[in-house]
């Protein structure tokens, strides 16, 4: 047995954004950038490790909204078009920078990356990234778990518990369809935990979840092993708490690795750096500049003067940072082990989009970390929660505390002046959904479809992302519009069904547009009864 365990958890999530009604839509780029910069690079990392026979164990949470988008034909097609545009732009960049070797080498690098993305996505994976993930799950390298159906921040829905249950029920069903097997664990969106949520998890055979450090630290008892072993809730669903020390190494804006001067600067993109006349074919129709992903500068320092990015030193630095991270974990294990009756477990959960999208060298850092950890396996072993629970079924039982990983650790990000107006509507939708499900227990035909669509609209409205964006301040009008749209759609279905006055044409258009969860069944909304 190793002297310590490392549990790396990557959470893949984006909200459901799909606008077939528009030729091109800005917010769909969220998905395209994440595929190019995070998901495909991470798949490459997994492949290289397997090819080299390096063992690894990662827990991968894929949110149902993201999985549904990765499965969607319209978005798959649009992603390929997006890459074609970028390849064309990169071709021009290679030409434009031909006299300037510092930039030219970067233009060539980006062109190659976009070409690789296209080849891998279209040929190697046949546009199906989910199946690629399942392949790694079958090898035991990944334990793929699910999250709430539309990533709702569950603590704020305590008063309408059916909505929480529905988030879990729909998620599990979608997971089985997308990954071929039932998930064993659950990612609480934003690590948002409130006491009692474990009851719903248990009902769907989910045996563990993750939460923020103080969720366990402020539990009903002092955690006897700190956060270095999971705990059971009273129903034996296990809670894995985040290790604060390792989180800080990566997340801290002052000391975190991603701020290193050699790394690529996220905020300097040629979409904004180059003249509009040149970049015009690649901006949105009405002249809105967008990020292209082609970014030529290194972080350099705090000022606006940036040096050109150099790939080799940046990768070397990622390697050093991986070495540093591992060294710090080994020391941590050494420090902790004498106070524990078993090897300490260090739980490191991250939003995956941190790696690659924001921290460009992040996937290489993960790769280096895994390789180095494999070489130090006698001292630190990568482990997934399922395996940990098999090896160490004896855990302390305590009731965790309401918590999240947002500002100040509770619900402040998702409930404050910018976004509190939404809950009146979101709760009303849940109450009305319950009313519909009771009043129409077993409908068929058009009314059944209308009720199913109402269920979809309610779930889409409940996404935590809209409240998050309203608070964070990026692209707020879109988040407001999405909230209003789903509230409106739901209410319209509700009123039409109640008045027996359904506009079928409108319903068909809506089903085509918001087509998430094709197998949804409104009758399951109350099926616990």
């Amino acid at each position: 047995m190793s002297r310590g365990y490392l549990s790396l958890v990557l959470h893949w999530h984006l909200p459901f954004v799909r606008h077939p009604e528009h030729e091109r839509f800005l917010e769909e780029d969220w998905l395209f950038e994440a595929i190019s910069e995070t998901y495909l690079p991470l798949l490459s990392v997994f492949e290289r490790l397997c090819e080299d026979g390096v063992p690894f164990k990662i827990t991968l949470s894929v949110s149902p909204t993201l999985a549904e988008m990765l499965r969607d034909e319209v978005l798959r097609e649009r992603y390929v078009r997006h890459l074609d545009r970028l390849i064309e732009l990169a071709d021009r960049e290679v030409q434009r920078t031909r006299e300037d070797p510092e930039f030219n080498v970067l233009a060539v690098m980006y062109r190659q990356r976009f070409r690789d993305c296209r080849a891998r996505f279209v040929e190697r994976y046949q546009r199906d990234l989910l199946s690629a993930l399942v392949g790694f799950q079958n090898l035991g390298c990944l334990e793929i778990i699910t999250s709430a159906a539309t990533h709702s921040f569950l603590p704020l829905f305590e008063v309408v518990p059916e909505a929480i249950r529905a988030q879990i029920a729909v998620a599990v069903r979608s997971h089985v369809r997308n990954f071929g097997s039932a998930p064993s664990g659950f990612w609480l969106p934003e690590c948002g935990y409130s006491p009692g949520v474990e009851e719903y998890l248990k009902a769907f055979d989910l045996s563990y979840f993750f939460l923020e450090t103080h969720g366990v630290l402020f539990g009903s008892e002092r955690p006897c092993r700190g956060v270095y072993a999971p705990t059971y809730c009273s129903n034996r669903v296990a809670a894995f708490a985040r290790d604060p020390e390792s989180a800080k190494a990566v997340w801290s804006s002052e000391e975190g690795y991603p701020g290193d001067p050699l790394y690529r600067e996220f905020y300097r993109d040629i979409g904004f750096d180059l003249p509009l006349a040149y970049i015009r074919p690649f901006v949105l129709g009405d002249g809105i500049r967008v990020n292209t992903g082609i970014k030529y500068y290194a972080i350099t320092g705090p000022g606006n003067q940036k040096r050109p990015y150099r790939r080799e030193p940046a990768l070397q630095r990622a390697e050093e940072h991986a070495e540093h991270f591992l060294g710090a974990r080994l020391q941590q294990v050494q420090r902790l082990e004498r106070f524990l009756d078993r090897p300490p477990l260090i739980v490191c959960p991250f939003d995956a989009e941190l790696f690659g999208h924001w921290w460009f060298e992040g996937p290489e850092w993960i790769e280096a970390l895994i390789r180095k950890t494999a070489a130090a396996a006698d001292r630190l072993e990568m482990i997934q929660p399922g395996e940990y629970l098999r090896r160490h079924p004896e855990l302390q039982t305590l009731q965790p505390c309401f918590s999240s990983w947002g500002n100040k650790g509770y619900a402040e990000v998702w409930l404050e002046g910018s976004n509190d107006w939404i809950y009146r509507h979101l709760h009303m939708l849940a109450r009305r959904m319950e009313e519909l499900a009771r009043r129409f227990p077993n409908e068929k035909g058009v009314r059944r479809r209308a009720l199913d669509q109402a269920f979809r609209e309610m779930l889409l409205a409940h996404a935590s992302d809209w409240a998050f964006i309203m608070k964070a301040g990026t692209t707020v009008p879109y988040a407001v519009r999405r909230t209003r749209e789903h509230v409106y759609n739901f209410n319209r279905v509700y009123e039409s069904v109640m008045a027996n006055d359904l506009n079928q044409e409108w319903l068909i258009a809506l089903e085509r547009r918001n087509n998430i969860f094709p197998e949804i069944d409104y009758r399951t909304y109350l099926s616990a009864e």
Binding site: N291, Q396, F402, P477
Partner: protein, 240 residues
């Protein structure tokens, strides 16, 4: 937001944007002054947000940054009209953190008409501490009142104790007589510190104390150390 993008807008659009952003126009502004002012407002908002958000929120935000030219809040959201109210007398209580909770409510037309008719009636939120009680409306540990206006429909409420059960009544005070119109769900405020005393099971309590000490060195677990942190909405109301 870029200057270039703002310069593409018409004067009417710029004025609308300035108004949306709360920029007060004391006198007719020329175009470049307006663009400068809007840019400055955006920059300031951005800085404020950056300061408020923890590193996790800042990083998560970058998932949604695909353009520095965000969609502008110019067009009305009228494409999707949603009700202001649902015409039900109801109050909902939502926990936010160990000391603050959010209440939202509605008073239906019938009740509102009754209140309006009587000029002596005051609308109230009555906050009850119901810790360890099976609350049935008759008795609470203690309570305090928050007078609100008939036009109000939500409020952030400071609650004295973490790890305590609270319930709200929405009602009318007529003289000394309180009439409850609606009662909320019971909420429970979360803890803000570890419980005292050793765990009842598991390993050596002294080792536990060392572990918790080690963790306390790493992170400030009094994340919510200052219970005086006032939600933004209340700050903005105080400014008014």
């Amino acid at each position: 937001m870029t200057r270039e993008r703002l310069q593409l807008l018409s004067m009417e659009e710029l004025l609308a944007l300035a108004r949306n952003e709360g920029y007060e126009l004391s006198e007719p502004a020329d175009r470049s002054t307006l663009v400068d002012a809007i840019l400055e407002t955006f920059e300031e908002q951005k800085r404020e947000r950056q300061e408020e958000n923890n590193s996790y929120v800042r990083v998560e935000e970058t998932k949604f940054e695909v353009s520095s030219d965000d969609e502008l809040a110019l067009a009305g959201a009228d494409a999707y009209p949603i009700p202001k109210r649902y015409n039900q007398t109801r109050i909902t209580f939502v926990v936010r953190d160990p000391h603050w909770a959010f209440a939202f409510w509605e008073i239906d037309e019938h009740d509102a008409a009754r209140i309006k008719k009587s000029s002596s009636e005051q609308v109230l939120l009555r906050v009850h501490d119901v810790e360890l009680l099976d609350y049935d409306g008759s008795r609470s540990n203690f309570s305090f009142d928050i007078p609100v206006r008939l036009t109000d429909s939500s409020w952030y409420i400071y609650l004295p104790n973490p790890e305590c059960a609270y319930v709200l009544e929405l009602g009318m005070l007529s003289g000394r007589r309180f009439t409850c119109l609606a009662r909320s769900n019971v909420i429970r405020t979360p803890r803000e510190a570890p419980v005292p005393g050793p765990p009842s099971e598991g390993q050596d309590p002294e080792a536990t104390e060392v572990l918790l000490e080690l963790m306390a060195d790493m992170e400030d677990f009094g994340r919510y150390a200052s219970s005086e942190v006032i939600p933004q909405r209340i700050l903005s109301e105080l400014k008014d």
